[in-house]
C-alpha cells in the first residue's frame, strides 16, 4: 500500500510512457560500461571453474580467515549502520521537520564527511584520539604516551564509518520526510498527539521505507569501505573482507587474482542482499508522491529549540570540526610529533606541497577526471533513470540492471581497478587504441564506480515525473528521443545535476581506484596524498588534505550559490 493510493493520483497511468525500443540500447550501453570490469573479474573465478579447477574457490571458502573476515565485515558494517542511523535520523528529523534555525548550514556540515575521503577522516580521528593529539594534548586530555589509541578497535571502526556514512541515512530520510504530507502530521496533532508521539506513530512509520533505503546504502558503503579498516582495523588485528582482499593482493603467486575475485564476489553477494532490500523498499514507496505539492510538515520546537540547536552544533563540532582541526594542526606543525605552539607552527608545508609539480598536475587531473565523470554520468543517468521508471517488462529489466549497477560501487576500489586493467589493457576492439596508461582508464573506472551516485537522484526525479508530461508530448507527435531531449531531460536536469555534484566531489579525491590505474604524470589528488603519507611525510599529506577539503568546500558553496534558485530538495543540503 502506498501513499499514492490515498491521493487521487494513479500511477498506473504511466502505462505507455516508455517505449521498449530504446531500452535494450540503454541497457546495453550502461551494462557495457558498468559491468564489464566486474564481469571480467568474475570470469577469473568462473573460467577455471568451468574448466573443472576449483582450487581458488575451495582455498578461499575453506579458509577460516575468510569467514572470520566475513563475520567481522557484516558485524562492523551493521554496527556502523546503527551509528549512522543514530546520527542521521535525529538530524534528518530536526532538519526536515522542525523550525530549527540554521538548518541549511547544519545539513551542509553533516554532508561534508561524505565528501572527505575515508582515509582522511580516519587519520583525523587517529590524530584526535591519539596521545599526540594536537588538540587534546594541550588540554591534558590526551591518552598517556604508550597507551593504545582507543580508535584502533572495532568500536573505533564502527564509530568512524558510522560518522562517515551518516550523511547517506540523513539524505535518504530527509527525502522521505519531505514526502510525508503535512496534513497527516496535523491530523495527529489535532487528535491530541504531542511531538514525540507524532514522530513515533506517524512520521517514522511513514518514512520507514526511505529510512531503510538509507540504512541499506550505509550498510553497503560500510561493507566496501577500505580506508577505515586499513587504518584502524589492521593495528587492532581485526580483519574485514576489504582488508583481506588487500592482503591477498599483497601475497604472491598467480593464484592471487582468482582468490581475490572469489572474495569480491562474496562481498558483492552480501552487498546485493542490502541493495535488493533497498530496491524492494524503494518499489514499495510510490515515489510519485515524493516532491508533490504537499508541503512538508513543520513541528514547532518551542522552548526546546535553543538547547537542541546548541546540542546539534556540539555534535557537528565533535564529528566534523574536531577531526578537521586536528588535521589542520598537523599540517601546521613543523615536525610531526612536536606539540603545536607559536614556535613550532609553520606554513612551510603548504608552500612545499603547493610547490610540488605533481600536486599541480594532480589538481588538474582530478578536476578533469571528476568533471568528465560527472558530466558523462549525468548524461547517462537521465535516459537510464527514465528507462528504470518505465513500467512492465522493459522497466523491470532495467531495474534489475539497477541492482547490478551498485556492484562496482560496493566492491573495494582496488578490485574494480584490477577488473579495469583486465578489460582495458588490450587495445579497444574497434578503435585500436588502448586506454591503459592514459587518463581514459581512470575515467572508465570512475564511470563504473560512481554511476549509482549519479543515478539515484535522477531516478527519484524520473519517478516523480508526471507521466502526463510525456504523454502530452506524444500526443504532439514527438518520438522517444525527442521526448527524452526536449521534455524529460530538462525536467529532471536539476536532480541529475545534483547527482553530478555528488560524483564530482566523491571522485575529486578518490584513492582506491586510481592508486592502481594512475601512471606517471597522470596522478590524482588521492594518490598524491597517499604517496606523501606513505613516504613518511604526514605533515605534507595533512597540508594537501586541508587544501583539498578547502577546494571541496569552495566547490560546494559555489554549487549552492549557483543552485539557489532550484526547487527545494535538489541541492542536497538546502532546506
Amino acid at each position: 500500500m502506498s501513499l499514492a493510493t490515498l491521493n487521487d493520483r494513479r500511477p498506473f497511468h504511466a502505462a505507455g510512457r516508455f517505449s521498449v525500443s530504446g531500452a535494450p540500447l540503454l541497457f546495453a550501453l550502461a551494462g557495457l560500461i558498468v559491468l564489464l570490469p566486474i564481469l571480467r573479474l568474475v570470469w577469473e573465478v568462473a573460467g577455471p571453474m568451468a574448466a573443472g579447477d576449483l582450487t581458488a574457490l575451495s582455498r578461499v571458502l575453506t579458509s577460516k580467515m575468510t569467514w572470520r573476515a566475513t563475520g567481522n565485515s557484516v558485524a562492523i558494517a551493521a554496527g556502523a549502520t546503527v551509528v549512522a542511523a543514530a546520527l542521521g535520523v535525529p538530524f534528518a528529523l530536526l532538519c526536515g521537520l522542525t523550525d530549527l534555525r540554521g538548518k541549511t548550514a547544519l545539513a551542509f556540515c553533516l554532508i561534508l564527511p561524505l565528501m572527505i575521503p575515508a582515509q582522511i577522516v580516519a587519520l583525523s580521528w587517529i590524530h584526535l584520539a591519539g596521545s599526540g593529539s594536537p588538540l587534546l594534548k594541550p588540554l591534558g586530555l590526551a591518552p598517556a604516551p604508550g597507551t593504545p589509541n582507543p580508535v584502533y578497535s572495532s568500536a573505533g571502526m564502527i564509530l568512524v564509518m558510522g560518522i562517515e556514512h551518516a550523511p547517506l541515512v540523513f539524505l535518504a530520510l530527509r527525502a522521505a520526510l519531505r514526502a510525508v504530507p503535512r496534513d497527516l502530521v496535523e491530523a495527529a496533532q489535532a487528535a491530541g498527539a504531542r511531538r514525540g508521539r507524532v514522530l513515533r506513530t506517524i512520521v517514522l512509520p511513514l518514512s520507514l521505507p526511505g529510512l531503510a533505503a538509507g540504512l541499506a546504502l550505509s550498510f553497503v558503503a560500510a561493507l566496501g569501505n577500505f580506508g577505515v579498516p586499513a587504518l584502524l582495523g589492521i593495528p587492532a588485528g581485526i580483519p574485514v573482507l576489504p582488508t583481506l582482499i588487500y592482503r591477498r593482493l599483497a601475497g604472491f603467486g598467480p593464484s592471487v587474482l582468482p582468490e581475490v575475485a572469489v572474495l569480491a564476489v562474496l562481498i558483492g553477494a552480501i552487498a546485493c542482499v542490502g541493495i535488493a532490500a533497498q530496491m524492494a523498499l524503494q518499489a514499495r514507496v510510490d515515489a510519485r508522491v515524493i516532491g508533490g505539492s504537499a508541503p512538508a510538515a513543520v513541528l514547532r520546537l518551542g522552548r526546546a529549540r535553543r538547547p537542541l540547536e546548541i546540542l546539534c552544533w556540539t555534535v557537528v563540532a565533535l564529528i566534523l570540526a574536531a577531526p578537521l582541526a586536528a588535521l589542520a594542526s598537523t599540517s601546521l606543525i613543523r615536525v610531526y610529533g612536536l606539540p603545536l605552539g607559536p614556535e613550532t607552527a609553520t606554513l612551510a608545508h603548504y608552500a612545499t606541497v603547493l610547490g610540488l609539480d605533481q600536486v599541480g598536475r594532480a589538481f588538474t587531473n582530478s578536476f578533469v577526471l571528476s568533471g568528465a565523470a560527472a558530466l558523462l554520468l549525468v548524461l547517462l543517468a537521465i535516459p537510464l533513470a527514465h528507462a528504470m521508471a518505465g513500467p512492465g517488462k522493459g522497466g523491470r529489466l532495467v531495474r534489475a540492471v539497477g541492482v547490478l549497477i551498485e556492484l562496482p560501487h560496493a566492491v573495494p576500489g582496488v578490485v574494480l581497478a584490477i577488473g579495469c586493467i583486465l578489460v582495458f589493457l588490450k587495445p579497444l576492439p574497434l578503435l585500436g587504441v588502448s586506454l591503459y596508461g592514459t587518463l581514459g582508464i581512470i575515467l572508465a573506472a570512475y564511470l563504473a564506480r560512481f554511476l549509482s551516485l549519479a543515478l539515484r537522484p535522477a531516478q527519484a526525479a524520473c519517478a516523480a515525473l508526471d507521466p502526463a508530461m510525456e504523454e502530452a508530448a506524444r500526443a504532439c507527435g514527438a518520438g522517444p528521443l525527442r521526448r527524452l531531449r526536449t521534455i524529460v531531460a530538462p525536467l529532471v536536469a536539476p536532480a541529475a545535476a545534483a547527482g553530478g555534484v555528488l560524483v564530482f566531489l566523491t571522485a575529486f579525491n578518490e584513492l582506491t581506484v586510481s592508486i592502481l590505474l594512475w601512471s606517471q604524470g597522470r596522478e590524482t589528488l588521492g594518490v598524491v596524498v597517499y604517496a606523501l603519507e606513505e613516504g613518511g611525510s604526514p605533515t605534507l599529506a595533512a597540508a594537501l588534505s586541508v587544501v583539498t577539503i578547502a577546494v571541496v568546500v569552495a566547490v560546494l558553496l559555489a554549487v549552492g550559490w549557483l543552485g539557489r534558485r532550484l526547487p527545494a530538495g535538489i541541492i542536497p543540503w538546502r532546506g
Partner: protein, 312 residues
C-alpha cells in the same frame, strides 16, 4: 666499477618502482644524464600496488614494465619461480656481498633498507636489543608492521625465525607483551613520533630522517643484527628493450649509482661506499642472514602464523 656498455642503448624503458617519488625522479634523471638516448617512463607506487598492477597486466596478457625496482627479494623470487624474469648474466656485481643478488642473475640488490627499532625520545628505556621489546617497560607500547601487508616485515619475520635465539618464540613473546601490528612503516613512524606508541619495529631511513628534522624519535640497530630488504631490481623477460634495461641495472650497481642511493639517505648495498649521515658505518651493522628462496616457500606459513598471533 661500472663497465661501459658497448652500444649506447636507446628507446623507451618502462620502470615500475616503489622508490619514493623524489628518489625515483633523481635516480631516473641521473640515469638519463648518462644515457640520453633512453626515454624512461616510470610508475611509482607501493610494492603491493605495483605487483597488483603487474599481476593484472599479466592476466590480461600484456605486462607493461621492462624493469622492476621494488622493496624485497622474496617477491622477485616468486616472479623468478614463475619464469617471468630475464637473467642478466654479465651484470657488474664485482664487490657485492654474496646473497645480495641472485646467483642466476635475475635480480640485484641496490641498497639496504634495514629493519630495526625506533623509539620515542620520551620513552623510559633506550632499547639496544630485540629482546628489550619483551621487557615490562615496553608492555603494550610496541608496534610493528604486519608481514601480511608489508614486504619488509615479511622478510623481517623470515629472518627473525631463522635466528636461533629469536625464532617464532620471539613473536609469541611479543604478542604476550601486548605488541600490535600496523599496515605499513609510515604508520609506525607516526605512532612512535606522536607518542601513541613508544617503540616501533621499522625500516631505518624513516626515523633517521625525521630525527634529523627534530622529531622526538631515534633509531637503533639492535645488537643481534637487523634484517634488510635490498630493493632489488630485475628485468622482466617480456621486456621490449632488454638492452636499455641492462644499462639501467648497470647504472644502479655502479659506484655512482650507489653514491646516489647514499645521498638519498639509504645504506648503499656496495661495501665501501660511504653511508648517509645519521647511519653508522656499514661495517658496524650486522645483517641477520636469510634465504629469499626459503622465505618465499615459507611465506604462506609465516603469514598464517602471524595472523594467528596478531589477527588481521
Amino acid at each position: 666499477a661500472a663497465q661501459a656498455v658497448t652500444d649506447k642503448p636507446a628507446g623507451k624503458l618502462v620502470l615500475y618502482t616503489s622508490q619514493l617519488e623524489a628518489d625515483a625522479k633523481q635516480t631516473v634523471d641521473a640515469f638519463k644524464a648518462k644515457n640520453p638516448g633512453v626515454e624512461v617512463e616510470w610508475v611509482r607506487s607501493g610494492t603491493t600496488e605495483l605487483m597488483n598492477k603487474l599481476r593484472a597486466e599479466i592476466a590480461a596478457g600484456s605486462p607493461q614494465a621492462d624493469l622492476l625496482l621494488i622493496a624485497d627479494a622474496v617477491t622477485m623470487e616468486s616472479l623468478k619461480a614463475e619464469k617471468r624474469l630475464l637473467a642478466y648474466k654479465d651484470a657488474p656485481v664485482q664487490g657485492y656481498r654474496p646473497g645480495t643478488h641472485d646467483p642466476d642473475g635475475t635480480w640485484f640488490a641496490t641498497k639496504l633498507i634495514t629493519t630495526g627499532i625506533a623509539y620515542n625520545t620520551a620513552a623510559p628505556m633506550k632499547p639496544s636489543s630485540w629482546l628489550d621489546l619483551l621487557k615490562p617497560e615496553a608492555k603494550g607500547t610496541t608496534v610493528m608492521p604486519s608481514p601480511l601487508y608489508s614486504g619488509a616485515a615479511a622478510i623481517h619475520m623470515a629472518a627473525v625465525k631463522e635466528q636461533p635465539d629469536l625464532g617464532m618464540a620471539f613473536y609469541e613473546k611479543l604478542q604476550a607483551n601486548g605488541t600490535t601490528a600496523a599496515k605499513g612503516n609510515g604508520g609506525i613512524l607516526k605512532s612512535v613520533a606522536s607518542g601513541e606508541k613508544l617503540y616501533g619495529v621499522i625500516v631505518d631511513y624513516l626515523p633517521i630522517r625525521e630525527q634529523a628534522k627534530g622529531a622526538p624519535v631515534a633509531f637503533v640497530f639492535p645488537k643481534e643484527g637487523v634484517s634488510a630488504v635490498t630493493e632489488p631490481v630485475a628485468i622482466l623477460n617480456t621486456s621490449k628493450n632488454p638492452e636499455a634495461a641492462k644499462a639501467f641495472i648497470a647504472f644502479l650497481l655502479s659506484k655512482e649509482g650507489q653514491e646516489l642511493a647514499s645521498r638519498q639517505g639509504f645504506l648503499p648495498a656496495l661495501p665501501g661506499v660511504a653511508p648517509p649521515a645519521g647511519f653508522p658505518d656499514t661495517s658496524f651493522i650486522s645483517l641477520m642472514p636469510y634465504d629469499p628462496a626459503k622465505a618465499l616457500k615459507d611465506d604462506e606459513a609465516n603469514k598464517k602464523d602471524f595472523a594467528d598471533l596478531f589477527g588481521g
